[in-house]
Symmetry: C2
Subunit: 241 residues, 2 copies
Amino acid sequence: MTESVGSLYGLGIGPGDPELITVKALRLLRSADIVAYPVADRNKEGFAYSIVKGYLTPEQTQVPLYFPFKLEQSSQPYYDLAAQTLAQYLEIGWNVAVLCEGDPFFYGTFMYIYERLSSQFPTEVVPGISSIMASAAALGVPLTYRNDVYLVLSAILPASVLKAKLAVADAAVIIKLGRHFSKVVEVLQELGLYERAKYIENATTSEQRIIAIADVNIQEVPYFSMIIIPSQWQGSNIDEI
Amino acid sequence: MTESVGSLYGLGIGPGDPELITVKALRLLRSADIVAYPVADRNKEGFAYSIVKGYLTPEQTQVPLYFPFKLEQSSQPYYDLAAQTLAQYLEIGWNVAVLCEGDPFFYGTFMYIYERLSSQFPTEVVPGISSIMASAAALGVPLTYRNDVYLVLSAILPASVLKAKLAVADAAVIIKLGRHFSKVVEVLQELGLYERAKYIENATTSEQRIIAIADVNIQEVPYFSMIIIPSQWQGSNIDEI
């Protein structure tokens, strides 16, 4: 008689609104024995956990994974430990769901777990709604028409790099603004993109704010904020082939 | 006594697997009086409709919207007619859900309805899982790490344009391959990206196929196919700040 191992699920749980989880991720979440999620601070429950906690049952075991995300130290030892922690549950046959804000394979932390465990255990990744798509919907701005070139950039990149990369795009999104907000705004002004750009923070959460870029307080720009530069084309001027 | 108008919902219903609809889109879909969806051919029921038909009830009225998508003619008159058709239902207070494969604001057809009706009727857009995220999950390839520059391109662009744009990206996706497959493969070879690239067609549908690029029959590449060039960085070599 052989014991079978458990399955690992990387579940995209979306941008913040608990209803923006997929039916599939919700089914797998509810059937998991172990629900694991990142935490960065003992005083916070973790954003991913906060999104889905209403769906969990008392029978499910919750396993916080500590990922400190500090600039001055590598995160890799923390991923090693998280993988070892989850592997012990998988080996005895428990199914493990790892919660991932947005989409697991799009700027997510699950990728580091995936590369450590997916060759050893049956693994399934369930895509999720990224905060970018949710932000475009909340702003009411169509992102890309037809054959637009679409670009996503992190605000951490130097101004010269942002400028060079943005030049190739018809539509672009600049994520992780935080303390890089002013630099990004200067780049947009230099490129003539300022008028077209839209700002949003904490999309679909109770803290969602949509404000004019000119009204943003640069001291208070959160990490989960972005600027969307929608397509330069107008839908009604072009055809949809 | 005033009659109130209905609400318009642009529902992202995901890439093909009916379970990849969000809980929110499913709720709004089930509560809609009118369910409208694109059809391009009298002999086909329409891809969007095929995804959600199992969720519909006999009480809901189905309204196909004919969008022929022919190169030799403009699609705009068809969007005009579709908007007029839906407006008459909204005016008498019916809620209208328009089905959108993938995400409504990401290379979708709903944007043309949105720009015609959203100023006249209460309108909500519900983001959906794009076929790109679903394809990355199915392929098991993390797309973007950390501060990667991410690019989406349509295969219809000329080879020289594809080459120039791809040069700025750390990770890229080339969509709508179809008859442009060979051109794209040549570009990948010239840029040294061929080994890293992965091919998938009809992700998450019953026709999903994952094959080596070298084994693709260039006569049979569907429109709903893509090549993903995942991040050039390896997760375990870098840190996640």
